[in-house]
Amino acid sequence: MSFYPICTEYGAMPLTEKFAAVTAEDVKRAINAESPDADDFLAMISPAAVPFIEEMAQKANKLTIQYFGKTIQMFTPLYLSNYCTNRCIYCGFNTKNNIKREHLELKQVEEEAKAIAATGMKQLLILTGDARIKASPEYLQDCVKILSKYFPSVSIEIYAMDVEEYAALVKVGVDGMTMFQETYNEELYPTLHPAGPKKDFRYRLDAPERSCKGGMRVVNIGALLGLDDWRKDSLLTGLHAAYLQKKYPNVDIAVSLPRMRPHAGSFQPTSIASDRDMVQNMLALRIFLPRLGITVSTRENPEFREQILPLGVTKMSAGVSTEVGGHSQKGEKVGQFEISDGRSAEEMCAALKKHGYQPVFKDWQCLDEHYGESV
């Protein structure tokens, strides 16, 4: 069993009509359901739920505080390499884009680690383009061994891997993985991913599940809102999270809500997710899956990030550079996408505190031998 049959089943449904058929009564029932199901989730992201956003916000706020407290986990990304063999038409690292390609040597990885650690950040997300030759599983393992000296938690956002490859990374200290399906629309997927290994829809779709089997503690999924109708992709994202949460109860499942940002390519979003859409999506997710982690990146602007703090967010990035080596080297570089919130870790903390939230830097520490703790 995998999520694929569920994805196919929903892909065959007339979802636009289903969303349009939701009534105000359905929405009210969904908001007040003891354990909301897939239909309730669909109702809460439908157009009929728009007038109920404030009611949903009140409930989502209560649930978030109840389960997570007034805390926000902080993390920062580190780009190890921007070589890529794919042609995702919406991405600045697309193999056809004429940008300077870079790849950090292990010495440089350590320099970046030191620069980031000096800002107080403890949870690191490492990213690479999809190029196994430049960022092989072995290279990644070597990087993690270095990074573990500086960061109690290291997660990956890289190409899809096999169970054994995930397990090998877990063994050297990786505790989380992020994998964006980009879109759950299998028909649309090939036009957005015309070439490269990422073209394989199903291999990517099952990657989060393979990483659960490989022993990851935290698995973060998401769709890139703007590629297809946001409601359809959000529905499938929520169902995918629910599927993983049920099947792998020992894994913390989280969802990111990235929206399309301007980048070096020419592709522009087909469906704009407005601020209100983003909020509706987040509220529905929180009510549907109260213990779900929800990540909001620096793709969003500072004002918006602060306004949505009480609505369900549990994890935020700060001090972000989407450039390879962007933390320790200065110069003219091209990032994967333009960020909207360029605040440092320190500035972000001050903003969180101003709103009555505590930034949490460390929330886990790997105690296996490789980490050097002789316990």
């Binding site: 407290g69 109860p249 499942i253 903390c349 460390k362």
Partner: protein, 258 residues
Amino acid sequence: MSEDLFELGGHKFNSRLLVGTGKYADDSVIPEVCEASGSQIITVALRRVDLESTTGNVMDFIPKHMQFLPNTSGARTAEEAVRIARLAKAMGCGDWIKIEVISDNKYLLPDGYETAKATEILAKEGFIVLPYVNADLYVARSLVDAGAAAVMPLGAPIGSNRGLQTKEMVRILIDEIALPIVVDAGIGRPSEACEAMEMGADACLVNTAIATANNPILMAKAFGQAVKAGREAYLSGPGAKHCHASASSPLTGFLSED
């Protein structure tokens, strides 16, 4: 009335309320929470402790007089819990440890089998082990055998604020288990803590209900008072409850005619 002290792990405490450190909007409120609640025992998730932090650390806010109770929150197996406990000791956090082994992230229910395994290992190593478990008689008995210093049954799942849902099972543990029974998790209101104490629980641990209140300090004070009131009610030996008004001797009144 002679002094009613709470004995745990070879120490005596005036307060029967244990508090937590998670979920606060700002850790700097912790000293005031301790003060207002009167609590003398505080639990801290080891996974959140960052001794290298330059930007503040939860440990900085724990008043010196408090008994420090590190917990193994985040552990999913007995092995992980044991590692965390040993690390806590190596870090100088003392030898008290609250065992939490949870591998179900949806309901956050504790794994009794893994908890008992970890308890046995750590108790043998000299730890004062306080295991967080389901309110289950068999698990509780295995913890007694494993050398636990107390049994901490849940009232309802962690953070759920649902109250004393496991009341009947907790009552059985109070009757059957010779160790202190500390109701941990689920208590959402002071009245529920009071009820647990009235039933004869030895103490209550409260975190979410205090940390997520609009006014955590006032709520801490309310919990302190509620736990005390419940304890005093228990000690005073409340009269038995009756469903109906009863005549003084409806069934045996005839005997007096003799």
